[in-house]
Amino acid sequence: MKIVKYVLLCVFILSVVTGCGSSANDKNKIALSSSPEYTTYVQDRANVLDGKTKEYLEKNSHELYQKQHVQITVFTIKSLNGADIKEYSNKLFRQLGIGDKDTNKGILILVAADDKKARIEVGYGLEGSLNDGKVGEILREKMFPSFKKKDYNQGIVNGYNALIEAINKEK
């Protein structure tokens, strides 16, 4: 009986000594509320998209993922609250885990409506077909003209289609 006690004591001491508590990495997380309305492919948190657009994105993104394992997520927010959009979109991209982990074929289209800022974050696996130059061109030529007129539906759909076209061209 005594031995058991000793052993338990030793185990306890050892676990205290070696217990290097791993620090949670929560400081890098963006606080996001959940809602049944938000899906893997569309999260319209700024309420700028209509039902038709959401349905279109949902259907095509699902198909794209089924066929080519490419995941495109459209994410709208009202404001970045002063955060840098590049850092924000990268954090969000990682946090949502867009694209399969091994292939990294994910795209995040982020629109901060009130800040009038937008960014497309591309995973490693797609950088070949969608380099920064190409992505910049899509933003400038396909999306921003509509965004300026507050037509987020048209802008998102135009940019979205251009992205898919670029991915298919590369194959």
Partner: protein, 189 residues
């Protein structure tokens, strides 16, 4: 009497086994962390290279526009060859920082050439440069985070004991560096 001896002996053996097990697991965890830091560093180097590789394209595009800025073109060539010949991490970081300097000056010069600024190819190159700088800053941050975790572990009691006898050295951090190219494609107002 015999019972007590057996008891003490048993406890001693258990402690020995536990210590050895702890030693191995701590050592292995340090090895894994060391490898993670190296991996993150490789990402940083990839982005250095990527940035340097964009320079010839940039120079070619600029040359299409009878622009007479010999000095800055020579600086680009020098910064690029410095990157190619850099072998150690410090030399690479130095070469990249020189390249950042040349790029910042170039951004100022470019303002004097509106036709160049309107060139499609040039705009795309600027996007690529800004994108690469963004990736570089992410890679640097990832490296710093991994290095910090590793540095904490090799300094903490009792892991520092294992780190010391196996010669694990602390990793250096990056100093925050200002980006040369501003991302042009973000605002739509």
């Amino acid at each position: 009497m015999k019972k007590i001896v057996a008891g003490v002996g048993g406890v001693f053996i258990i402690i020995c086994v536990a210590v050895v097990a702890w030693f191995f697991s701590s050592y292995n965890s340090l090895i894994t962390q060391n490898e993670t830091v190296s991996n993150k560093w490789a990402q940083v180097e990839n982005n250095y290279q990527r940035r340097a590789d964009l320079i010839p394209n940039l120079v070619n595009t600029v040359e299409g526009y009878s622009i007479h800025e010999e000095k800055i073109m020579q600086d680009f060539a020098a910064a690029q060859s410095q990157m190619l010949s850099a072998k150690t991490p410090t030399a690479k970081a130095q070469a990249d920082s020189n390249l950042t300097g040349v790029l910042s000056r170039f951004m100022v010069v470019v303002q004097r050439y509106p036709e160049l600024k309107a060139d499609k190819q040039f705009t795309r190159l600027m996007d690529e440069l800004a994108g690469t700088e963004n990736r570089l800053s992410i890679a640097r941050k990832d490296y710093d985070d991994a290095a910090q975790q590793y540095n904490i572990d090799i300094k903490r009691i009792p892991t520092n004991f294992i780190a010391n006898i196996n010669g694990f050295q602390p990793k250096e951090y990056f100093k925050a560096e200002a980006a040369a190219a501003k991302a042009p494609t973000v605002n739509f107002n």
